[in-house]
Symmetry: D2
Subunit: 112 residues, 4 copies
């Protein structure tokens, strides 16, 4: 089928990006003071990678607030991380989403 | 096409696993003393993840030897890491491979 | 004062080890199936580093159980990680401890 | 001796910061496009941590250029990372430095 191999490859590449993003940055010190620069830095890292057409990273401010330590920052966790990535391989585009699933208690990554 | 969506999802999941493996463990202290336990631990982490049917992680001993510091260990880098993962989604299996591409100077991840 | 420089250096080295341990491994997939191999691998990584005389890593099984996702594993977080490291610099020994402080909601690292 | 305990604690805290910085960010995708935002993000993460008075992170552009893959970016390694941190504990200040030691082939961290 036309484009099938390309779509599989695009899906593979989208998975790489979300797996990489999560495991590179989980644990990073984060607070209200650096949350924006951290989001931008994370996006900048994804954009460098092959086949990436677009990316958005969002750290949930409510979850961040809940998690702050008495030192007024915390370590980035899956609960507060959301990301969207669009990947294109030879004209075939695939979008994927990382979000915390409260019921599964899991940072769910899915194709859209 | 039958199984197409499942193959795309399997490819996506395979990408997640390799991206996660690389970015979680790059930088880990490694020497000839702990290289086996590190490979096993890395495999154990991939096996926990959804849809994984099989995984193999190999740290290249020649590259490791070349990279050893005067303290007799080094940090794990892409040059010395190789991995294979097989993922199954509703009967559709996809295999993927991470290896250092010397010409591209890049830890290439590909579907097989 | 005799040994003062050595004690400062030992304290510095102990700090390096705990900071490294935390930030290398937070985010790692962990369940009851791989918790022991992960503890051993983490210890093996610390042992490679200069001046380390002893190290113990413990992942809290109760906290692990509480955090399991519906996929039966989770990502390693500060809440479940405890570690002890002993460092020696020219005869001066320093011990340090990483543990979750529930009140501060923080992975506290301290000299002992 | 006056201030000795504080200096030991400051040395310990300085060690934590450099160990954390290295192991959190090694592996991060970096190129000439995002090297500045990455440096700023890394500094912002260190600044959040207790007792930090000052921090500077520098990614070596020459080393970065040498390491670029055919995709025009690379993963951050110890060869290209340099950092300075100043920590203060109850009036006692300690400065520490992370730099690549070419002879030892090692990311050396030292008190200054």
């Amino acid at each position: 089928m036309v484009g099938e191999k390309e779509r599989e490859k695009a899906a593979f590449e989208a998975g790489i990006k979300l797996g990489a993003l999560f495991h590179q940055f989980i644990g990073t010190p984060v607070s209200f003071e650096n949350v924006e620069i951290l989001e931008k830095a994370m996006e900048s890292c994804v954009k460098l990678q092959p086949f990436v057409a677009d990316v958005k990273v969002k750290i949930n401010r409510e979850k961040l607030k809940e998690k702050l330590s008495s030192f007024n920052y915390t370590s980035l966790t899956g609960e507060m991380l959301e990301a969207w990535v669009k990947v294109e391989v030879e004209g075939e585009a695939v979008s994927a989403h990382l979000r915390w699933d409260e019921e599964k208690r899991y940072p769910l990554m899915s194709l859209e």
